[in-house]
């Protein structure tokens, strides 16, 4: 599968680390670097190796990690704007090629009720009408987070764009483009997802929901979509045997029971009680 990943377009020089965090980075990085030089040897080199980038981040206010994650913690926002503010939150862009015609891939996605079949963090999506939908996402500790979304852009067999509608928890916007791949290779599906959790305890729950490894999540979601459309059934190895599981904890499948089922009592008795020279009548 071809994946391409384009992080938020930021000029390499932009500051993406919050002020307090910069000061902390500066202090810790400096201490580690100084300690590393003083200590010498391997341990010292290790300290220096870890400390130096932190120091740099403190001085410049730029984090390579945050840039990779598409995070920008320098911008503070507490307003519930209708779309994800520029340069804030998580933005992931992924592309894959699915060996099915554009019309089929488009139709599958356009029915938002199908989204939870491949987006693992969704429990269900209900269509309210042609444009609006209600989303229920899984959160840690059996909780759910819910919001409404509306389709803001739609061209049949080309693009679907949506965003959250008046949610106090999360600003989410997404778009998916469909393009016929050359040489009959199916459909190129390009997904852009943006999430910006808002403030408060619920907001941080949402951040945990989307923020752990958003790229990997979208990657795996797209892979499941591809498998559903190409094979009908995403492959799994969950529940297969290994030496890590105890056989007594698992029921014996019927194919084994059929084979190892104890013989009927009469038959057992017959085999025991008749001499070999005098076989029982059922032979």
């Amino acid at each position: 599968m071809q994946h391409e990943n384009r992080q938020q377009q930021e000029s390499s020089g932009s500051i993406n680390v919050a002020r307090n965090e910069r000061l902390l980075s500066l202090a810790t990085g400096a201490a580690m670097a100084v300690g590393g030089v003083a200590k010498r040897g391997w341990a010292g080199a290790g300290l220096l190796l870890v400390g130096a980038p932190m120091l740099l981040r403190g001085i410049t206010g730029r984090s390579y990690l945050y840039k990779r994650l598409g995070k920008n913690r320098a911008v503070v926002s507490d307003t519930a704007a209708v779309s994800v503010p520029h340069g804030q939150g998580i933005r992931v862009e992924k592309v894959t090629t699915i060996n099915r015609p554009v019309s089929e891939v488009y139709a599958f996605w356009r029915n938002f009720g199908n989204l939870p079949r491949f987006m693992n963090n969704l429990e269900r999506v209900d269509m309210i009408d042609q444009r609006r939908s209600h989303w229920v996402a899984k959160a840690p500790a059996n909780q759910t987070v819910e919001w409404d979304a509306e389709i803001v852009n739609e061209i049949e067999n080309e693009v679907i764009g949506w965003r959250t509608l008046n949610s106090k928890l999360v600003e989410h916007a997404g778009s998916v483009q469909f393009k016929s791949a050359p040489g009959g290779r199916g459909t190129e599906v390009r997904v852009v997802m943006e999430y910006a959790p808002l403030g408060g305890a619920a907001g941080s729950l949402v951040a945990r929901l989307f923020g752990t490894a958003p790229e990997q999540q979208v990657d795996e979601d797209l892979r499941r979509l591809k498998q559903i459309l190409e094979t009908g059934d995403p492959i799994t190895v969950e529940g297969q045997p290994s030496g890590r599981a105890k056989p007594e904890d698992h029921p014996t499948p019927s194919y084994v029971r059929a084979e190892e089922a104890p013989k009927d009592v009469v038959q057992q008795a017959s085999e025991e009680s008749f001499p070999a020279s005098d076989p029982p009548a059922y032979y």
Binding site: E230, G232, I235, P241
Partner: protein
């Protein structure tokens, strides 16, 4: 059920584990009748393949009887006797449609892990680490087979397990290696490594029209088996300069095609051998490509180097300049077993070849720990082990 479980370098154990169940609609469960230990299982045994977990069930060469099938299975019935390719393929992605079965897009549940390592993921393989899907293998009494309609080859009752078991891997692997060598009538083909894959490569090279095959190894019984297959044996340990020897044997031209059936654990003497061992031990390179280097050095101008031997990471001192200046063609990769199942079954039925020639040991599944050891150490003249559950 009983199964052969990996527990670490040089440590395999036969353990009682849960029985497999249907997990995807296209699955079948096989009762395994025969299974073999592959040379590539030794890479796991020797700890060269990352992402193994203690308790993983090994084995990717197996055949058996269908005892259960998922609701999506169309072509198979309970009681069918089948052989299963070592690679798992969905049959509906771009790669499967183009007969590139070992590159299937949809059969590796851990494709993300493989993409992080290799950029793109190959297909899933049975019993071959979590990087390649984490599928439980077939060195067991029962095994779950996904996409069974796509992979399973029904076996006619008149053929013995011994004659068809190797259609699952080593026979197609040797055959594809020879096919990749683009052999033309009159060609001289040199094969590095006379293990089971090398043996099938030698015989396949003759089937595809090679005039002569030169077999290179250092284990006497393996060289003898190569000679039985019609090859000229060269024990590299008795040669001061193997490249020169090969030149001398081919009128100064070099072999038209060179096949490396050794892979990432090649043995070499002297300084080059020490260099690779140290670098591999310190993980500064993951393969010891000694045979590949020699194949490139020995090959005639404009010839083909075909690599069925397994590699998994980075190698060093790769003589790309030699390959470039001689205009060589390099072909490699995991075998697209599905492509060869039926044509090679026909060859077995016609009597072109009886693949059981390669078997030196038949043991019970319980004896797997001993079998791995003698196979790795090349003890007791061991070339190929078949286990019966």
């Amino acid at each position: 059920m009983k199964a052969v479980c990996w527990h670490g370098t040089g440590d395999v154990r036969v353990e009682r584990v849960p029985d497999p169940t249907i997990l995807n609609d296209g699955d079948v469960i096989l009762q395994v009748t025969s299974t073999a230990i592959c040379g590539s299982d030794l890479h796991l045994y020797n700890g060269y393949i990352p992402t193994m977990q203690a308790g993983d069930i090994l084995g990717h060469e197996f055949m058996g009887i269908v005892v259960e099938k998922g609701p999506g299975v169309r072509n198979l019935e309970i009681g069918d006797r089948v052989a299963i390719p070592f690679n798992i393929a969905c049959g509906s992605c771009y790669f499967c449609e183009h007969e590139l079965w070992s590159l299937c897009d949809n059969s590796n549940p851990n494709a993300g892990m493989a993409e992080a390592m290799y950029g793109q993921s190959s297909s899933g393989f049975f019993g071959y680490s979590h990087l390649f899907g984490g599928f439980a293998g077939g060195q067991a009494e029962y095994v779950r087979v996904p996409f069974a309609d796509v992979g399973a080859l029904k076996i006619p009752p008149e053929l013995r397990d011994d004659q068809v078991l190797f259609l699952t891997d080593i026979f197609p692997t040797g055959y594809m290696a020879a096919e990749n060598a683009e052999i033309r009538p009159g060609d001289v083909v040199a094969v590095w490594g006379c293990g089971p894959v090398g043996q099938f490569t030698i015989r396949s090279a003759f089937m595809l029209g090679a005039e002569r095959v030169i077999a290179i190894d250092r284990v006497p019984e393996r060289l003898r088996m190569a000679e039985d297959g019609g090859a000229e044996a060269v024990n590299y340990e008795h040669e001061d300069d193997l490249i020169q020897t090969l030149k001398d044997m081919t009128g100064g031209r070099g072999p038209d095609a060179c096949i490396d059936a050794v892979g990432l654990e090649a043995h070499a003497g002297g300084l080059p051998g020490l260099y690779d061992r140290v670098k591999q031990a310190t993980r500064m390179e993951t393969g010891r490509p000694h045979a590949t280097r020699q194949a490139i050095q020995a090959c005639r101008k404009g010839g083909v180097v075909s690599i069925p031997g397994v590699f998994g990471g980075f190698v060093d001192k790769f003589p790309l300049g030699i390959a470039f200046s001689k205009g060589l063609k390099l072909k490699m990769g995991q075998t697209h077993v599905h492509r060869y199942l039926r044509p090679l079954l026909e060859r077995v039925q016609r009597g072109d070849i009886d693949p059981s020639f390669v078997i030196t040991h038949r043991l019970k599944l319980e004896d797997a720990p001993k079998a791995y050891k003698i196979f790795r150490d090349k003890k007791d003249n061991c070339i190929k082990v078949v286990l019966s559950p």
